[in-house]
């Protein structure tokens, strides 16, 4: 699924990197716990989170996560936008809360991006 499709499904506002919306992802994970993201996230993933701080973008950078979607209408800080632009990470924000946002993407065919081995 292209990031552009995700933006459409979630009725999300794209904040950075419009030019990268052709990028294909296969799975998603929803988490406010960056330690878990670093432990379990697989490849070609979008991250949905309600957490707003610079370490969200750092975590995405380390994990090669190409897109972060903020739920509940949360807006990233300027410092986050700046870092995301520098690292070519797409940021979006949706008014949906975490559960329906994940549900819609799951329904549309995205797989579970967490591999906890359990």
């Amino acid at each position: 699924m292209k990031l552009l499709d995700i933006a459409t499904i979630l009725n999300a506002q794209v904040i950075t990197a419009n030019e990268l919306l052709d990028y294909e992802v296969t799975s998603a994970c929803g988490s406010d716990l960056m330690s878990d993201v670093m432990a379990y996230v697989t490849e070609n993933v979008v991250l949905l989170t309600g957490l707003i701080n610079l370490q969200v973008i750092r975590t995405a950078e380390m994990m090669d996560i190409r897109a972060v979607i903020f739920v509940r209408g949360k807006q990233p800080l300027d410092s986050m936008i700046e870092l995301a632009l520098e690292k070519n990470i797409v940021l979006m924000t949706t008014d949906l809360t975490m559960f329906p946002a994940c549900g819609k993407l799951y329904e549309a065919g995205l797989k579970n991006g967490f591999d906890s081995g359990r």
Partner: protein
């Protein structure tokens, strides 16, 4: 390729700056053409160690040595040390404050994550003296 040596300060109590050293090393490894999966392993392990130094130990330093076949990352702090290393290695065990948890960390996954992503992990720690975490990731 000769060995590349890098040194970084990890500033104390600066949660915003945390990760800059790891980001820099990630970039450096990409520039010299290391495979993406190896870079990711090194970057995540180092980032967790960097975050730990900020959270628990008033910062510290990172010494990075990039050789032909491996990267060796040493994160050194003068923090409180780890009284029970075995316990600290347990998934979910954390002594981080609520403040840190609100930032999305302190879930007790830092050391287990380092172990997971490093090919070799050495931890030397002494209560009241500090901790040295040495992460090795092999490229081949």
């Amino acid at each position: 390729m000769s060995t590349i040596k890098l040194k970084y300060d990890i500033p104390a109590n600066d949660f915003v700056a945390a990760g800059e050293a790891s980001s820099n090393v990630k970039k450096k490894l990409a520039q010299i053409g290391i495979a993406a999966d190896k870079i990711k392993k090194a970057a995540i392990a180092m980032y967790e160690a960097e975050i730990n130094a900020v959270i628990h130990a008033n910062g510290g330093t990172a010494d990075v040595e990039i050789c032909l076949d491996r990267v060796i990352i040493a994160i050194i702090d003068n923090g409180p040390g780890i009284p029970d290393l075995e316990l600290a290695m347990t998934e979910g065990y954390s002594t981080a404050s609520d403040n840190i948890r609100e930032m999305g960390f302190g879930a007790g996954m830092g050391l287990p994550n380092m172990k997971k992503y490093a090919d070799k992990l050495d931890i030397n720690t002494e209560v009241g003296i500090g901790t040295k975490v040495t992460i090795t990731v092999y490229f081949i």
